[in-house]
């Protein structure tokens, strides 16, 4: 019995939804970066406001209060960097989804894109772990700094999955190139 290849129904709705979701997450990342960067001059201008919210014991455990402020600023910059990496990742994802929507997923560009996404995800995971450890070291009042949630098994699995998918796309691209020359 001959096999019948059924063309899947037009998934435009799903792609539109995915695009909207990516845009929403990107907007949240931009808001986060804006909030973190605008907090820096505020804290540096009026450091007492921050110190008032922290237990005196925590402040004294860091020695000089200016050290605590410095760590706070480093934390904010690290969070901004994490969100920035997230934005680059989402931008790659957006372009990948667009090429899949246009039914041209198996391209050399997408293979490179997926590899970059895997490395970006790895960098985000490592940075997230570092921020988590840093926040824990700074004290309970700085638990909010754990924006990435610290170490995540799902994140590390996602990194491996991205490398595997990049390899799958590489094979798919080679097959498509062969098909392009088939008459």
């Amino acid at each position: 019995m001959p096999s019948v290849i059924r063309r899947s129904p037009d998934p435009r709705g799903i792609f539109n939804l995915t695009h909207a979701a990516i845009h929403a997450v990107m907007a949240m990342c931009w808001l986060g970066i804006l909030a973190a960067l605008s907090a820096l001059p505020l804290v540096l201008h009026r450091p007492q406001r921050l110190l008032d919210t922290v237990d005196a014991a925590v402040v004294s455990s860091h020695g000089d209060p200016s050290h605590l402020l410095l760590h706070f600023c480093i934390g904010l910059l690290a969070i901004s960097a994490l969100l920035g990496l997230g934005l680059v990742f989402l931008r790659h994802l957006q372009r990948l989804v667009r090429s899949v929507r246009d039914r041209q997923p198996f391209t050399r560009g997408n293979v490179l894109r997926l590899r970059r996404m895997a490395w970006l995800m790895l960098a985000m995971e490592l940075l997230s772990i570092a921020i988590g450890l840093y926040a824990r070291w700074m004290g309970p009042q700085f638990a909010w700094m754990e924006v990435g949630g610290g170490m995540s098994i799902t994140g590390l699995i996602a990194v491996l999955m991205l490398f595997v998918i990049a390899h799958v796309f590489n094979v798919g691209t080679a097959m498509r190139e062969d098909l392009d020359g088939l008459v």
Binding site: D178, D180, G181, L182, V183
Partner: protein, 75 residues
Amino acid sequence: MAIVITLDRMLQQRGMTLSELATRIDITLANLSILKTGKARAIRFSTLDAICRELQCTPGDLLGYDPSRTQDDDC
């Protein structure tokens, strides 16, 4: 690639144009052009069968082998 397509010569001998052949074997002119200019990487048996049927020739009449062209591969 050392494989040489002699479709051009066969068409000339038969007095047939490329577009006429494309219509007869139900293949796009663009695809047949790719085959004629030797840019194709592979050919379906069904395509070969249709060309041989219309040109009344054998696959050997359409394909040749020129070892001196091996170096051109991947260029």
